[in-house]
Symmetry: C2
Subunit: 451 residues, 2 copies
């Protein structure tokens, strides 16, 4: 068995699937259908209220999952014990390697309802087994990158730091949130492991417990500035915020003589808009014009926009839980749907969940540099505009990757190419036109199914 080193979780275990992927696989093998060529499309149906777009993310992790997907002897022994699988099927799993192809939107691309984030083509058994974890991995990073991208617009140039690790849904989610928010334009994360793994700048201040560990707040500030004289953002709200700022100023003055400068103060509670003005004034009055007022505590893009809108003199935001769990929209209705088998386009008609048949392409139309609308059509069709899906995996090998910095740059560039109405916190909708061939195919198949 391969044991790909450095993977951060056991997504490579073949058991990390919904049971039905395996029982369907058993049937596909029994029916001689396991190697029929199939294409699945991964997309979402709707955007959360107010959102104008999503930002595609999670592809790198999804491709790594596909490349590393294996069934260990232990996995196979467990499956055998369930009594649900034939020896023949388990033998097939024992040599399982994903051998298919993937076309996908590069990470950092704005994406809209019904557009494929990726399409997986390969033997039916393989492409089906990939469903559960591809959805899981691509969904989470797309969700967080999208929400973080809104926060980046709301912050209008101010520093944003991911503080979400303590309340993300598990450690994997903490790493995914750090990566996805950085990709979307955040400046740093408090998550040290994400700093190591993804080369994201790491940042942090201090906890209330630190302040309380000392006999007095002033002593705590002095102690911290002794070890980090040029890198101290002092937490000033443990007892009384204005008093805390005054103490920070006192301690900063003591260190000024040695040539050290206070980096800033952090407010983590109370009405931070007015408090930030008080802090700014106290710092300015003491000559600490460079010291930043950093704010945290229950922030999301709407609260950031409110604070920025009222002109609060805040230099940076620590954004935690509400971004890390995407609190107002904790999921997207992503789906992974069969669209073609053996060259035959298929669809389902389930109420409210009808799907579009066939392999697809997305063309983005621009007026000047600004995106005007997309066309969703059949792959191989023709259309003006920029086709967005790239070949990223060929015959089970990843053929596309880029440094995270380049992805972050794409996200920035593509966000700026969106119409301003789409970037508003309560966004106008964007038009995705279904191309004429795709529409005709859908109608023809629907008619055929119903009759």
């Amino acid at each position: 068995m391969d044991d790909p080193g450095g993977r951060r979780h056991e997504a490579g275990s073949g058991l990390l699937v919904d049971l039905y992927e395996l029982t369907m696989g058993e049937s596909y093998l029994a029916e001689g259908m396991a190697d029929r060529e199939a294409t699945f499309s991964l997309f979402f149906r709707t955007l959360p209220p107010g959102w104008g777009y999503a930002l595609a993310a999670g592809l790198e992790e999804g491709l790594r999952y596909l490349a590393e997907l294996r069934f260990s002897d232990e996995d196979l022994a467990f499956l055998e014990r369930t009594g649900k699988f034939s020896a023949r099927f388990l033998r097939r799993l024992s040599s399982f390697r994903f051998s298919g192809n993937v076309r996908a939107l590069p990470e950092g691309t704005p994406v809209f309802p019904e557009e494929p984030l990726l399409e997986v083509s390969g033997p039916l058994l393989e492409a089906q087994l990939a469903e559960t974890m591809l959805l899981n991995l691509v969904h989470l990073q797309t969700l967080i990158a999208s929400k973080a991208s809104r926060a980046v617009d709301a912050a209008a140039g101010r520093t944003l730091v991911d503080f979400s690790l303590r309340r993300t849904h598990g450690p994997d989610a903490g790493l995914a949130a750090a990566r996805a928010s950085y990709l979307a334009g955040f400046d740093a994360t408090s998550n040290v492991l994400a700093g190591q793994r993804c080369a994201i700048p790491i940042a942090g201040t201090m906890a209330h417990s630190y302040i309380e560990s000392f006999e007095s707040e002033t002593e705590a500030f002095r102690a911290f500035m002794r070890v980090y004289p040029d890198d101290a953002v002092l937490l000033v709200d443990t007892y009384d915020t204005p008093e805390g700022v005054r103490r920070a100023v006192t301690v900063a003055r003591e260190l000024e003589v040695s040539g050290h400068r206070l980096r800033g103060v952090r407010l983590d509670s109370g009405d931070v808009g007015p408090l930030s003005r008080v802090a700014r004034e106290l710092l300015d009055d003491a000559g600490f014009h460079d010291a930043v007022v950093f704010v945290s505590g229950g922030l999301d893009e709407r609260e950031i926009a409110r604070l920025v809108g009222e002109g609060a003199p805040i230099g940076g935001f620590g954004v935690g839980t509400k971004m890390g769990v995407s609190a107002d929209a904790p999921f997207l209705d992503v789906a992974y749907k069969l669209v073609e088998i053996d060259g035959r386009p298929v669809l389902k008609l389930s109420t409210g969940k009808a799907s579009l048949p066939g392999r697809k392409e997305v063309w983005r139309m621009r007026e000047g540099s600004v995106a005007s609308h997309d066309v969703l059509g059949l792959y191989g069709g023709e259309c003006e505009g920029e086709p967005l899906l790239l070949e990223v995996m060929r015959a089970g090998h990843v053929v596309w990757n880029e440094p995270l910095g380049a992805t972050r740059e794409r996200a920035r560039r593509e966000r700026e190419s969106l119409p301003p109405s789409l970037r508003a916190l309560d966004a106008a909708p964007y038009e995705v036109r279904v191309g004429p061939e795709l529409a005709a195919l859908r109608d023809r198949l629907t008619e055929g199914m119903r009759s």
Copy 2:
């Protein structure tokens, strides 16, 4: 370096922390404070709207994290490269082992705002470093177990299966959701890895893609029943639900002659209340009284309660995304607060985030078997009623564990001991009285801080 085998994620890496845990640690060491005896309390401040209680969970994983927390050579090399840490501090981390004590509510215990889920006592440096991941791990399972427990009451005895893996926030969260929902009373999960790891029953049906892979729905049903003649729950909504049920009946009749019985049908879209009646009637008319009508798609405890309330003839529910991400309440405001250092009780006064000082105990008062109210007091104090916190870790060693089945039984028993008004989906509040000694200590310290 130890490399504890079989851990399911890298929670054991010391880098999986917020940066400030480490920079505070650097300062504690520099100040000679690293080994001062400290106690931190992990609790939440409020319950989500409508929730009457939370169900404590995640302790096993939290304790495993503490026991396995290490800094590898690679971790230390990264920390050194950040330039933020002294050689002395890194040496200390290189031999890091958590050596403290933990008292905690056993998993499956109903818990209320301000009550400690656990208290960590040990050297300040160690107890501080544990903050980020203890919060992360205990928070997630407590959140999901609590929501799942509400669904168990709503389902009133019908089967509940966790279908959340595809949309949980990462693979870790999928495992946590499977474990926490089972602990709370769910019957099974679709997550095969959770089945292997936690010995949770696994279950599943089939995807729409399976149906679409065949030339006809009937052919798909036949194929599935060929491999699973006694264990087939056929998905009937791909094209038209009543027609799908009729086809399922047709295929089931073909197999009846060989002594096989249809296990059931699944509805995954449309207005499932009325559709379940149609399905039930068609099954009954054909003599398949034992076949279950299983429902999935966008379910949560309120939708389950609505369907049960209107008498829909549904035998089981597949509960996915909305439970797995706790969609209406995707986080609890958990905190990990210093409450005592060197025997000195401490608190913070931050607006809206004031904390209660000192090590604590929770006593549950009962009238007969029904919980009437709790008393939150100082540890070592006296009170009638049942003290709830147990010693679970001593000097870095886990001294308490139980099989998941026993935890599940505690959850069932304790849920049944709650007043019915607390178990309603829009619950009445439960009283947690602050004991007189704790109240006096809080008032005295607050007075002292403010003066």
